[in-house]
Symmetry: C2
Subunit: 343 residues, 2 copies
């Protein structure tokens, strides 16, 4: 989380840059083209930073042959491992595990039923031995059976109090400072920034606006089915225990089309789950940008890729290297990891 | 369709109003609160117009106890019968019927298969005798089996050439001038305007930005499933013959939650298909607005409600009257119907 003075500064910069984008005639061209301050101060001066700025200038600079109209400046960002950390387990899974513990008293049958039995004994490894099926069951029981409003309140209570097991920080502090700057830099240049994540859409929307500056209508994620009903003469949306949409892998381009209806011109991710989103963004005409965050810093964050069960990066790394996409080497490209420093 | 000079004026007004919203200090308060020109010139000075302006001022005027932050100024609009006409048949159905004729040569089997056989003989009534099932089949064969890009091109070709059977005008000219003004007025006051329609999302997105000023990412509609694939090493999205989402009736609040993630504070519709969207919008806290367009002008447009198979308005009319929602009496409330005049 940014300190509030930083937030004010970032917001101020956004307003100024937006003003320049909307009223280009009000700004001296020299000012617009050579910002007085570095828009990406937490990025080292490496080829990665150069590639980002070169792309943004190509598609936004007046007179550029590759100029893209603001309405088409769509940028899509994965969340877990791209905007915030995902180790030692996906943060939404940590939320679900906490919910299982909180709900256990209401579910005596869980004592004899996996994956809950192991979980409640504190044996996370045993609980997750059931693989995707086990995770799906844990997510289902903790993400359905309540209204959207009730779920929002549950997530809000958790996200403002639960602490990361390694750093002891709030999960919303475990966001990448360089990526926050990148989001603001893109928006300042007329981009509309979207989150496109395998994570739950209702979960992310609780904090995406405050933490990333991304409003709920620009958050795309996995979801369960909803039912419109009345309770005590008031309309509600009930969260049902059925999968509606899995926003991962080939689901990402589909989710992008369903929600946005335009191909992004820039995509940002960190794992094999983002490969098809990269391919879809790069598949459009004109200048396109794909940036893959490679977790290479075991000291300040975590180092993992091909053999990790969380955020596995294997085929997407090969493809990025073969296609010449931009790969962030976290250890060398990022001056700072989290707003508060590092792990 | 607006004449281009009107379009330039409307765009100019939008820029100015947006500027006032973004930089309130630049505008003298008196100017912001008493616009020199009537924002709704095609609305007669009736109670309906007064109710619209009173609502907008209550939720946007500095110092109002009911002030709503811009991020929460979400307004949702039905399309068929609310933003453009829907008689004698839904315009998207007219598109589908034209496509059946265009594709008939590739489908010799249609000569013996309903609803296609009747359709190709020019017997629309016979074809539609199969009810929703027949319409679903016609929509499916004309809206799947191609990529999203190919479909967009087909719709673009049709929408810029096909003529309405009664007026001889392009379908995009059959939009309601008072509603175009209302869209611009709301946006000028910091609202984000969304379309929430039973119509096809990919169909509407082809013209929604140009005709209504609503970008693709703010169009919500019914959809078929999509598949991400490669064709000649290029990524494509194939439109499959399976329903993904039916954005009608209880589907509207669900679609709103999936796409927007916030309850609208204002909803605009014209038929029983919009009832649940009205209920959802009115169900939130604070000041909320629901406006129902009642087609009462047989001379200048069409008059229909409880017994119409197109845009049936029965239960929603009773509910609107019982709850005191705002009902547009098209004949008395609208000075002008279409930008070009009337039927």
């Amino acid at each position: 989380m940014m300190a509030s003075s930083d937030k004010v500064l970032a917001a101020g910069r956004r307003v100024v840059l937006t003003a320049l984008a909307v009223f280009p005639l009000l700004a001296a061209p020299a000012l617009a083209q050579t910002p007085a301050t570095d828009p990406l101060p937490s990025w080292n001066d490496t080829a990665t930073k150069t590639a980002i700025i070169a792309f943004v200038e190509r598609v936004t600079k007046q007179g550029s042959p590759d100029l893209v109209p603001p309405a088409e400046r769509i940028a899509t960002f994965d969340n877990d491992g791209t905007l915030w950390a995902e180790q030692p387990i996906y943060f939404q899974l940590a939320f679900a595990l906490d919910r299982v513990k909180a709900l256990a008293a209401l579910h005596p049958e869980w004592k004899d039923k996996e994956p809950f039995a192991s979980l409640l004994k504190g044996d996370l490894k045993g609980a997750l031995a059931g693989g995707e099926r086990a995770i799906f069951e844990i997510i289902t029981v903790t993400h359905s059976g309540m209204t959207t409003d009730e779920f929002e309140k549950i997530v809000r209570d958790w996200i403002t109090t639960a602490k990361h097991p390694v750093t002891g920080r709030l999960y919303t502090e475990m966001v990448y400072q360089p990526m926050l700057e990148l989001l603001a830099y893109l928006r300042g240049n007329g981009f509309k920034t979207f989150i496109v994540s395998g994570g739950g859409i209702d979960f992310m929307r609780v904090f995406a606006e405050r933490v990333y500056g991304v409003p709920p209508e620009q958050v795309i994620g996995s979801s369960g089915k909803l039912a419109f009903e009345f309770r005590d003469s008031s309309p509600i949306l009930m969260k049902l225990p059925d999968l509606n949409f899995n926003d991962d892998k080939t689901g990402k381009p589909v989710g992008i089309q369903m929600h946005i209806g335009r191909q992004p011109i820039a995509a940002f991710g960190n794992s094999d789950g983002d490969l098809q989103m990269f391919e879809w963004a790069k598949g459009g005409g004109g200048v396109r940008f794909a940036l893959l965050v490679h977790h290479t810093d075991a000291e300040r964050e975590w180092a993992y890729d091909r053999s990790s069960s969380i955020g596995r990066l294997d085929k997407a790394l090969d493809t990025a290297q073969a296609m010449g996409w931009t790969v962030v080497d976290m250890k060398n490209d990022w001056k700072k990891i989290f707003p508060f420093g590092s792990k």
